[in-house]
C-alpha cells in the first residue's frame, strides 16, 4: 500500500510538471498544445542518449529542459507566430500543434531506428530504472521528481511574481493588446512561455524512463492525463496544474492498484480510462477546475 502511494506521488510529480506547461501555454497563447506529447518524448530520449554515452541520466533533466525548450521555440516561431500574425483562429493554431507533434513523432522514430539499426541499441524500449539509485529506502526518481517539482514551482513563482519579466508575462496573459500598448514585446513574452513550458515537459520526460517503460509513443499515451490534470486543476490558475496532477495521479495509481487486487491484474491495461472519465466528469460538473472551488469567495 505504502509502495503504491510512493509510486503515485512520483507519477503525480511528473504529471504536474507536464500539466504546468499546458496550463501556462493556455494562459499565454490560448492554445491547447498537443505538441506537449513530443516535448516530453524529446526529454525521454535526451536522458536516454546521455545514459548511452555513459553519463548520469539525471543530467538529462537539465539538458532535456533546454532541448525540449528549443523544440517548443521552433514550433512557436515557425508555425504559431506566423499564424497568430495572420489572426488565425484558435482551432487552426491547435491543428498546427497537432501537426507539429506528428512531425516530431516521426523524427523521434527516425532517431530510435537509427540507434537500433546502426548501433544495435534497443532504442524502442527505454527503461532506465535498473540504473537508478536508492536513498533511505526511497527510489532516486521519487526523490528527484518531487524535489524538482517543488524547486521548479518556487522558481516559477518567483519569476512570475517577483520579477518585472514575470509581471510582463502576467500582463500578456491578462490583456495582450494593452501589454503591446504599454511597450511590451508580446511576441517575445509568448516565446518565453513556450520555452518554459517545453522545458518543464522536457524535465518530466527526462525522468520518465526511471519510472516506467517508455518509447516514442509514450507522449501520445500521456497527452490525455496531461490535459486532464491541467483542466481538472483549472486553466485559469497556473498552480491549478500541480493540484490537478496530484489528484489525478494519486487517483489513478491508488484506484488501479486497488482494483487489480479485487478484480485481477488485467484491469491495469485499462488504467488510461481514469483520466478520460475524470475529464468528462470535470467538464460537466466543475468546468473551471478545482481551483475555482478553492478560490470561490
Amino acid at each position: 500500500m505504502i509502495e503504491t502511494l510512493i509510486s503515485g506521488i512520483t507519477y503525480s510529480s511528473l504529471l504536474s510538471l507536464m500539466a504546468l506547461g499546458i496550463t501556462l501555454l493556455y494562459r499565454t497563447t490560448k492554445v491547447p498544445n498537443f505538441a506537449h506529447a513530443s516535448f516530453v518524448v524529446f526529454g525521454i530520449y535526451t536522458s536516454y542518449t546521455l545514459a548511452l554515452l555513459g553519463y548520469n541520466p539525471y543530467l538529462g533533466t537539465l539538458l532535456g529542459f533546454i532541448v525540449s525548450g528549443i523544440i517548443a521555440l521552433i514550433l512557436f516561431y515557425a508555425l504559431l507566430e506566423p499564424l497568430r500574425r495572420r489572426k488565425s483562429s484558435i482551432f487552426i493554431l491547435m491543428m498546427a500543434t497537432l501537426t507539429y507533434d506528428i512531425l516530431m513523432f516521426g523524427i523521434i522514430n527516425i532517431y530510435a531506428d537509427y540507434l537500433q539499426t546502426t548501433f544495435k541499441i534497443p532504442a524502442r524500449n527505454v527503461y532506465l530504472a535498473p540504473q537508478d539509485f536508492t536513498l533511505i529506502g526511497l527510489k532516486g526518481v521519487t526523490i528527484v521528481s518531487t524535489s524538482l517539482l517543488i524547486v521548479l514551482l518556487m522558481l516559477l513563482y518567483i519569476l512570475l511574481n517577483r520579477t518585472i519579466i514575470g509581471a510582463a508575462l502576467r500582463a500578456v496573459m491578462e490583456n495582450p493588446s494593452l501589454a503591446q500598448a504599454n511597450g511590451i514585446n508580446v511576441s517575445l513574452m509568448l516565446a518565453l512561455s513556450w520555452f518554459l513550458a517545453g522545458g518543464l515537459a522536457g524535465v518530466a520526460g527526462a525522468l520518465l524512463p526511471m519510472y516506467m517503460m517508455t518509447d516514442p509513443s509514450t507522449g501520445m499515451l500521456l497527452i490525455a492525463p496531461m490535459f486532464c490534470a491541467s483542466i481538472l486543476g483549472g486553466l485559469e490558475q497556473i498552480y491549478g496544474a500541480p493540484l490537478g496532477g496530484f489528484i489525478l495521479g494519486l487517483a489513478t495509481t491508488v484506484l488501479v492498484s486497488w482494483l487489480s487486487g479485487v478484480i485481477g491484474y488485467w484491469i491495469m491495461t485499462y488504467s488510461l480510462m481514469v483520466p478520460y472519465i475524470t475529464l468528462i466528469v470535470t467538464l460537466i460538473f466543475i468546468p473551471r477546475g478545482v481551483v475555482s472551488i478553492i478560490l470561490k469567495r
Partner: protein, 237 residues
C-alpha cells in the same frame, strides 16, 4: 507644425474597411478632440495611429517618421501613449506593478522618478499602491490608466473615452487632469469622446467623425453650433 498626423488614411481590420480618406493632425502641446456617434470609427483612428488596425493606404507620421507597419510596442516606446477605451489596466496586477510594468524599459532611476511623478499627479494611487488594480473604483481606474501612459514620459497621449460611465463630479476631475497634462506636463493630447459637449469645452481643435469620414475640422466651440452636430447629438449630453 503638427507633431502627429495622418495623410489620406484608409484603414480597418483585415479586409474590413472602417476609415476613409482621413487627414487628421494633432498640434503640438494642444488638446485635439475627436467626437462622433457609436461606430463612427473614433477608436479605429487611434488603433490606426498605434499600429493595431490594418492600414490599407495612406500614412501615419509622428515627428517626421512614418509609423506604418511598425509593431504597437515600438510605437508605444517612441513616445505615443495610448489609453484604450476598454481593458486599459491589468486588473490582476497591483497598482504599482501596473505602473512599473509600463515603464519596464526605463532605467531604475528614471523609473522611480516617473513613479513619483505619477503618484504626485494622482495621490490616491500612491495610497493604494499595493492593492490589486481590479479592486479600484471606476474613477481610480481611469487615473491608473492615464498613469500607465504617463510612466513612459510620452509626448503624445491618446485618450479613448476616459470619462465614459463616470459620475459627473468625477468626469470634471478627469477632464481637469487632461488640461493639467497639457499645461503642466506639456503633452499633446488626442481626446476621443462620445459625450461631446464637456470635452469640446476644453479642446483647442475638434474633429467630427461620422461613418468613417471627417465631417468637420476646426474650432471646438464652432462645432457645438454646427448643424450636423446638433442633428447627431440632439438629446445627448
Amino acid at each position: 507644425m503638427p507633431i502627429l498626423y495622418t495623410k489620406k488614411i484608409f484603414s480597418g481590420y483585415g479586409d474590413l474597411r472602417v476609415l476613409f480618406n482621413i487627414n487628421f493632425s494633432a498640434e503640438d502641446k494642444k488638446i485635439t478632440v475627436v467626437v462622433g456617434p457609436n461606430g463612427a470609427g473614433k477608436t479605429t483612428l487611434l488603433n490606426t495611429i498605434t499600429g493595431v488596425a490594418t492600414i490599407h493606404s495612406g500614412e501615419v507620421v509622428f515627428k517626421n517618421r512614418r509609423l506604418n507597419g511598425m509593431p504597437p510596442y515600438s510605437i508605444a516606446r517612441m513616445g505615443i501613449a495610448y489609453v484604450p477605451q476598454m481593458g486599459n489596466i491589468f486588473s490582476n496586477l497591483t497598482v504599482e506593478e501596473n505602473l512599473r510594468l509600463s515603464g519596464y524599459f526605463l532605467s531604475e532611476n528614471e523609473l522611480l522618478d516617473r513613479l513619483e511623478y505619477v503618484y504626485s499627479m494622482f495621490p490616491v494611487l500612491k495610497e493604494f499602491r499595493s492593492r490589486r488594480a481590479g479592486t479600484l473604483s471606476g474613477g481610480e481606474r481611469r487615473m491608473l490608466a492615464i498613469g500607465l501612459g504617463l510612466m513612459r514620459k510620452p509626448e503624445v497621449m491618446l485618450l479613448d473615452e476616459v470619462t465614459t460611465d463616470l459620475a459627473p463630479k468625477i468626469v470634471k476631475k478627469v477632464l481637469e487632469t487632461v488640461v493639467r497634462l497639457r499645461d503642466e506636463a506639456k503633452l499633446t493630447i488626442v481626446l476621443v469622446e462620445q459625450h461631446a459637449a464637456r470635452a469640446l469645452q476644453i479642446g483647442d481643435k475638434a474633429y467630427l467623425l461620422v461613418s468613417g469620414s471627417i465631417r468637420y475640422e476646426g474650432d471646438p466651440q464652432e462645432l457645438l453650433r454646427h448643424p450636423e452636430f446638433s442633428k447627431l447629438y440632439l438629446g445627448i449630453s
